[in-house]
């Protein structure tokens, strides 16, 4: 074991410890803001793992998209909906948590067994290394061209869908004529619809 290998091993161990403890924190911490920042840390550590696997382009995409877009979006959503609220206690919540932990441990055992007992075809063909970015470009514009274009349409649909779902229609004046708009025609509920069977009945 030379020094490059041991450095790589240490990097992998540190990154996996960050990933595991960070994701446990995301799931278990009671303050959702801390969870969001820990999620950013987990994304950065996963990008570091990609760098260990010689995939610099995907690591950069991970940092840009996950840390720069998704995590910031989650933080904004937390700021918009972060109201201090007392969650109603539910009967059997602890039992539910323990049971689902058991199910997840079973799933984990199954996955670990598959990981360790499958005869992987190792060592595979030699890795491409630093040429990966060029190869990804070739893939995206030749044999993965159709999924690539579909992904752009999907992003457009997601953008329009998110705008339509999240906007709040409050038009005071008509855009064209400047007259005041008949507010009865526009869905602009300010008082929330609280349909709660337990409280009404």
């Amino acid at each position: 074991m030379n020094i490059a290998n041991s450095t790589e091993l240490i990097c992998f161990l540190v990154l996996s410890i960050i990933v595991i403890t960070g994701s446990l924190g995301v799931v278990l911490l009671s303050n959702i803001v801390y969870s969001a920042f820990l999620l950013g840390g987990v994304f950065m550590a996963v990008a570091g793992l990609y760098l260990l696997l010689n995939a610099s382009f995907v690591a950069a995409a991970q940092v840009l998209v996950y840390v720069g877009a998704v995590n910031v979006l989650i933080l904004f959503a937390i700021m918009l909906v972060n109201k201090k609220e007392e969650l109603k206690p539910i009967k059997g919540l602890q039992i539910r948590k323990v049971l689902s932990a058991g199910v997840c441990a079973g799933l984990l055992a199954l996955l670990i067994r598959v990981d360790l007992t499958t005869p992987w075809n190792l060592p595979g063909p030699s890795a491409i290394g630093e040429k990966a970015t060029e190869r990804i470009g070739e893939h995206l514009f030749t044999d993965y061209l159709l999924p690539f274009e579909l992904a752009s349409i999907l992003l457009l649909m997601a953008m329009i869908g998110a705008i339509v779902l999240a906007r709040r229609d409050v038009l005071v004046n008509d855009v064209g004529t400047g007259e005041s708009v008949d507010q009865g025609l526009i869905e602009k509920t300010t008082n929330p619809i609280l349909i709660d069977k337990r409280s009404t009945s």
Binding site: A55, A69, I74, A77, E85, L87, D115, I163, P192
Partner: protein, 109 residues
């Protein structure tokens, strides 16, 4: 084998890390009562799948790095999912004034 330098870490290590991350994500998805945390757990699970794809791509796929291409598509879909999910969450919050998952039972009999 000059290019196969990443073999000092076994492939199974990446797979074990990914399965652990996936199971943590599943547990969080089931047990979170805050709807934002449910979305975060989904992101964790997608990241676990991405780690798997990247590890297979580096160890088993040689110079056809199909796993990396798939990872890029998964990242794209995850971004779209996060945007739409948070928009739905905002719409729900406007109607119910809560993010408690237990109170989103409008479609439940």
């Amino acid at each position: 084998m000059l290019e196969n330098q990443s073999l000092s870490i076994p492939l199974e290590a990446y797979l074990l890390l990914a399965s652990l991350l996936f199971c943590i994500g599943v547990w969080g998805l089931i047990n979170s009562r805050n709807a934002v945390r449910v979305l975060m757990s989904i992101e964790l699970m997608l990241n676990a799948v991405n780690i798997n794809l990247m590890a297979f791509s580096a160890y088993l796929d040689g110079d056809l790095i199909r796993g990396q291409v798939f990872t890029i598509f998964v990242i794209t879909v995850a971004a779209a999912e996060a945007a739409v999910g948070l928009a739905i969450l905002l719409s729900l919050y406007r109607n119910r004034v809560t993010v408690d998952m237990e109170s989103f039972n409008l479609l439940k009999w």
